[in-house]
Symmetry: C2
Subunit: 452 residues, 2 copies
């Protein structure tokens, strides 16, 4: 009795037409990463457990998948290996390990799958692609790189053409400074910022109640008003912060001043890099959950699909690899969760699958004795860079035509003895449902023309 | 105390310059797969253990890596998941699972990593890339596809330019038929073919002794002579087999006749597909270890580096997925072990790392107040598809130059107030160690010219 063929829960396995669309998405992401001079890095799927799990009890570490071979399984050993759960920890390990062979500032991109033992539920993946870029400095990292990151995001999502989108930027130093100015105790900052991060995503009244419990009600309202008042108007938001900074009644702290300076400079420089104002917004309510981030933070939303949440997030951090090296390595980066994004867009019917196949021409097997001719035609098309398949079976022409049409190739080639003797080749153009005869010597040029 | 950053044994982690070369290799392989109309498939790194381990006790299954999350680890469960150890089993599972949604003949390529719990030793990888193509038919698969496979191999290794190479082809049906004609008992065929596969790799005398132990000494010598006599001369080898077939003194079996027909047709059709005779050889001593293969078999050797062994192997099989479906799915395919091949070529200094970086231009930070200008220059180059990086730190120009040179980018751009006021931009061309001034308006065109 055969075993039922099936995949584990929580993975995204695609049919070829979908996989073609997914590859195009990854190729576009990679192309843009390279356009900005990021270098490719790949790390092993598994790391030494001891190296991977350096933090103490984070949420993600509870979801780690351990790896062990048959031998060690029998001995009941503690697993020596574990699958990476993100690309940030492997990057830290990589930079620390190869520190003396890398050219700093180190700019890398990494497009690989990561693994998490998530509870099985819709939209949660146990295996998914992340597409990361980071710029890592030694001791220091100029602010100009914080502006480059949204320019990369802009290039990618413009080309992917999933509809209008907005890159939101903010600065955690500024947020902390604001809390300082409002007299919020240091130890409550993380909790307040956690609530701030919910603005625009959850009910405002409830957020305000919870923030008021962490500080006084007056400043709580003032804070949330300030963070949300100028939503959609970056210049007004920056101007109001300027006014806040200039107001002698409130002492604005060093964090506030620095944070505001940074935010203004990142905003201006990002525009200088060609990102239009319509796609870039200062949004003071973006805080990012992770305390890891210490300056600029980013989130990206599809305008027509806000429920997808942020499709590309990141920020600046003070030190990448303190677990692995004494060198101070500040960095800035972003991550695109490609698998989750693709599966959501697929459900929304926003991915055009089958619109364009990889195969461009199918040479049909019209008369078996001409088989060698078909192979030669295919070879000449391939030599011209045209993706070509030869139908090998001696099936009825109707079946062959159906196969070629279903395969998504725009053109089929038919050559019978009659055409051959006349020095012609017949092209079937599926989209126009028409056939044309072209001189054999002109085949490659004519096919190229048809592809524009 | 920091944890020592390091990778597990048996993985290949590359520095960026090496990774660039490796990516180029994978890109070339993928490009050629697509040129022949193969469609992309990716499968999850882990499969359900029950689905993956269907065979009984194969060598590879002993090396399987099991995967389990923290939760199930504590409960001591039998692991539900395991990492794939090749791409053939996942292909079988994929085709059986999605059988009714696929367009047959199904042609797929798959370029992913696989995992084996190998003993730690030089040249043995626990994680490595395989690059596979297969054509899978339903019920039947025409022989013409057996000729397409070496044409793909030829395209790939011509473009990779690792030096001259030879694709060896043979036919297991022919070998079995030959053994039948020589009166070797059916149950000894596998053992004899295992010895045959060692011809050219191990000492002939010892092989002959072991074969003689499996059959009579006379036929043993006759067999080995026949299989090795015309090495390097495909036509002579085929002619001698023809003579063998025509000899009324020896009854040649159906297997022998069919196998010889197939081999002749595959050889001729492969030449028709544009593979030159110099790169294709009938080699009767190629048997492939696996009984999985039932017809055409392939191995590929670099002429100047025979010790690397076969760098690309495969063959035809009678039924892909009998474990998962009752449908009969014959196929033909090959696999390139890209990680092993790359690491060997790297050791032989045959990989030109750093010869060409991904980054083409580095815009230097000559005067900090011109920072916005630098960003705009970069944006204009990127819009023209030129991979461009902006140096962001206010370091001394010497340090910046050194960084740009080390990064492998062929060009650096220098713009000071003087150049700006004159409407000019200075280009440093590292390879020629020379600087030229170009009008700002012509920058993109001039940089393009330099890349030829």
């Amino acid at each position: 009795m055969p075993v039922q063929p099936r995949t584990p829960q929580g993975v995204l396995e695609l049919l070829p037409v979908q996989q073609i669309a997914f590859q195009r998405m990854l190729d576009t992401i990679r192309r843009n990463f390279e356009l900005f001079g990021f270098l490719p890095v790949e790390t092993p799927a598994f790391e030494l457990t001891e190296v991977l799990l350096t933090k103490t009890g984070g949420e993600t570490e509870k979801q780690v998948y351990f790896v062990q071979s048959t031998g060690s399984l029998k001995q009941g050993d503690t697993p020596e290996l574990a699958l990476r759960f993100d690309l940030a920890v492997p990057l830290a390990r990589y930079v620390a390990q190869h520190e003396h062979q890398l050219n700093f500032l180190f700019r890398r991109y990494q497009i690989q799958r990561v693994y998490r033992g998530e509870r099985a539920q819709k939209g949660r993946f146990r295996e998914f692609y992340q597409c990361d870029i980071d710029v890592v400095g030694k001791d220091e990292l100029p602010l100009s790189y914080d502006a480059e990151v949204p320019a990369v995001i802009y290039g990618i999502f413009s080309q992917l053409a999933f509809g209008p989108f907005t890159i939101f930027i903010n600065n955690r130093k500024l947020l902390r400074g604001l809390l300082e100015s409002l007299g919020v105790a240091q130890e409550k900052h993380a909790d307040v910022l956690h609530e701030v991060d919910r603005l625009g995503k959850q009910d405002r009244t409830q957020i305000e109640e919870r923030v008021a419990a962490l500080m006084d009600a007056g400043p709580a309202k003032q804070l949330l008003d300030l963070l949300t008042a100028n939503r959609g108007d970056s210049r007004a938001a920056l101007a109001e912060l300027e006014a806040f900074r200039a107001d002698p009644a409130r002492p604005s702290t060093a964090n506030f001043k620095e944070g505001l300076d940074e935010l203004e400079r990142v905003y201006t420089s990002t525009l200088a890099l060609g990102v239009p104002e319509s796609a870039l917004q200062v949004n003071l309510a973006i805080a990012r959950g992770l305390d890891y981030y210490t300056g600029t933070v980013y989130e990206t939303f599809l305008t027509d699909h806000p429920k997808l949440g942020s499709i590309c997030s990141g920020g600046r951090y003070a030190d990448l690899a303190s677990h692995y090296t004494k060198s101070k390595l500040p960095g800035v980066g972003i991550s695109i969760g490609a698998t989750r994004l693709f599966s959501q867009l697929l459900e929304l019917n926003l991915i055009a699958t089958g619109a364009r196949s990889i195969t461009q021409v199918v040479v049909l097997n019209v008369e078996a004795p001409l088989a060698q001719e078909y192979l030669k035609i295919a070879a000449s098309l391939r030599a011209a860079g045209i993706n070509t398949e030869v139908y090998g079976a001696a099936d009825k022409l109707g079946k062959q035509m159906k196969y070629a049409d279903r395969s998504g190739a725009p053109i089929a080639i038919l050559l019978g003895t009659r055409e051959r003797d006349a020095g012609m080749i017949k092209l079937k153009i599926f989209r126009e449902n028409r056939e044309i005869d072209v001189p054999a010597a002109e085949l490659v040029a004519r096919v190229r023309e048809l592809f524009g």
